[in-house]
């Protein structure tokens, strides 16, 4: 019987010949990533009585969630982490300002196809865009990974998702994945691996694939893999060290389900409060007034996201009553966006630029919402209270829709404002 990508990677990582979905394996981790919650991980690391990490070269820590520190508590956490990496000889440490972990990890060449990556962040699925088995785990588990390099994992069933057609202008990968989540539900891929195929997947950029693998977590996916190809190779080749060993599924791999989507007619999509699978066509929600527009995050804070928003805002002004917050996903993205003039466009349009990092995405700082306020956001979660007050609302949409809405002061169709 043929194997899926997930089965093959876990077989290699657990030194087993033949494994299949449902088996439980003890796997050796290739890369272990944490962010600000490394403070909690290091505390548990002490509690289990571990002294030295198993392999400092396989641990990466990137501070992004509350940067620069917003409270004394956050500052203490960062301080603990800086001390810990020094003591343990962890050189792969990126302090505040480098960007969001899921952007920085591939940018800095840590991600390679076929790897088993775990991260103390649910959106670690992002690195599936590079053909890796990449998934989120909790802090206690990470402490044990730091100590032993090992972790038990259940080999997931795989759902094959085929996306065909040709996207219309102003319709983005974000719209595609929101549409899919709307169809399969917020637990539609719970515990499962997804492999993405199809014309659209081949056609779109690496950044767009990252957006899909990232957002797919909101359907519960354990991993969300786009098979490695020329585009990913192009992105990684000057960044990674050593050989790339991509893993592909066998022709006769056994999938739990095969889902096909034809997206040529797809309109911009919006996930309405308070669930990511509460997805509507743009025309059902246009006209809803907004107070804040957020462009950024590990889902959609990359150069192409800023580019499309800048195209919409070029030479225009956002509505007075709207606060628009732009967060480039990383230092690299930020520098490019300055070079290309996007940042100037945003500033002149009336937006506020904040430093690379998670920004207001998790409701901790830099643009939290007051009660009764409503935001449209290119981030990945719209749970109650996600961006601030439990009485606020978050609508999720593509960068194009976010920019168009900032311009009009209400949820707007990006195809309309460009006319």
């Amino acid at each position: 019987m043929g194997k899926t990508i997930a089965e093959k990677i876990l077989a290699r990582a657990s030194n087993r010949e033949d494994i299949e979905a449902g088996d439980i394996v003890e796997a050796e981790v290739d890369l272990a990533m944490s962010h600000d919650n490394a403070a909690l991980v290091s505390k548990v690391f002490g509690e289990i009585g571990a002294e030295k990490v198993w392999d400092p070269s396989k641990i990466v820590i990137i501070l992004d969630h509350r940067v620069p520190a917003n409270t004394i508590k956050s500052a203490e956490g960062h301080k603990t982490i800086r001390q810990f990496v020094k003591e343990q000889g962890i050189e792969n440490f990126h302090d505040i300002g480098e960007g969001i972990c899921h952007q920085v990890l591939p940018e800095k060449g840590y991600v390679k196809p076929g790897m088993l990556i775990v991260g103390t962040d649910s959106h670690t699925t992002t690195h599936g865009a590079f053909g890796a088995f990449s998934t989120g785990i909790g802090a206690t588990e990470m402490a044990c990974v730091w100590a032993t390099g090992k972790l038990w994992l259940k080999v997931p069933e795989t759902i094959k998702i085929v996306i065909n057609g040709k996207l219309k202008e102003m319709v983005m990968a974000k719209d595609v994945i929101l549409h899919i989540i709307g169809e399969i539900g917020s637990d539609g891929a719970n515990y499962k691996a997804i492999e993405f195929y199809g014309e659209v997947v081949d056609e779109i950029s690496v950044a767009s694939r990252m957006s899909i693998s990232n957002q797919a977590m909101e359907a519960g996916a354990k991993v969300a893999i786009v098979p490695f190809d020329k585009k990913t190779e192009e992105f990684l080749k000057n960044r990674v060290k050593g050989k790339m060993e991509p893993v592909y599924a066998d022709e006769d791999a056994s999938y739990e389900d095969v889902l096909e989507f034809e997206v040529s007619d797809l309109e911009p999509q919006v996930a309405c409060p308070h669930k990511v699978d509460n997805v509507k066509n743009i025309r059902e929600v246009t006209g809803i007034p907004i107070d804040q527009a957020v462009l950024g995050s590990c889902t959609n804070g990359r150069l192409e996201d800023l580019a499309i928003a800048a195209r919409i805002l070029e030479g225009k002004k956002i509505q007075d009553r709207v606060r628009m917050i732009v967060i480039p996903a990383s230092r690299e993205v930020y520098i490019e966006a300055i070079r290309k003039g996007y940042i100037e466009t945003f500033l002149k349009a009336g937006a506020t630029i904040i430093n690379p990092g998670c920004g207001p995405c998790l409701g901790a700082h830099q643009g939290v919402l007051a009660s009764g306020e409503r935001a449209i956001s290119s981030t990945n979660r719209n749970f109650k209270g996600r961006m601030g007050s439990p009485d606020s609302e978050v609508y999720l949409a593509s960068p194009a829709t976010v920019a168009a809405s900032a311009l009009k002061g209400e949820i707007a169709d990006p195809r309309e404002v460009l006319k």
Binding site: S74, G77, G138, C144, D187, N190, K222, L362, A364, G385
Partner: protein, 165 residues
Amino acid sequence: MIIRGKVIKYGDDINTDVIFPGRYLAITEAEEMAKHAMEDLDPDFLKKVKERNILVAGKNFGCGSSREQAAICLKYAGVKAIVARSFARIFFRNAINQGIPIVESPKAIEFINDGDEIEIDLERGEIKNLSTGKTFSFKPLPAFIRDIINAGGLVESMKKRLSKS
């Protein structure tokens, strides 16, 4: 392990942001975390959990973030077990790693009401609803996972493992 207690019942898709809001993520002490458990879902939770310490919920309990605080805050708020139609995968692992007995049972939500008293036998895979007299079964977790729960969580079980080697 046998757990007995009264039930607080919630619906589907209870996510990690309402279990433990992001604005408190810098907190590192478990007792402090417990003070914010379920804050955005049920403001009376901390009062209720004093009397009733088994949570019963619908599908996809704990969906969302990998934040282990969601499991930790429930444990330290006094939750003794969680029974749900299904769990989101990271929460499922986090709960086990915190030593919280969890039961996946599609029947639970139909056969257990808010306020019922129930008894869960983790090894045998059986829930007795003492209030209604009904008994039903679920597939027990694999033995090595039950061992983690019995040890009180992954920290305790790991300590044993590290001190042996």
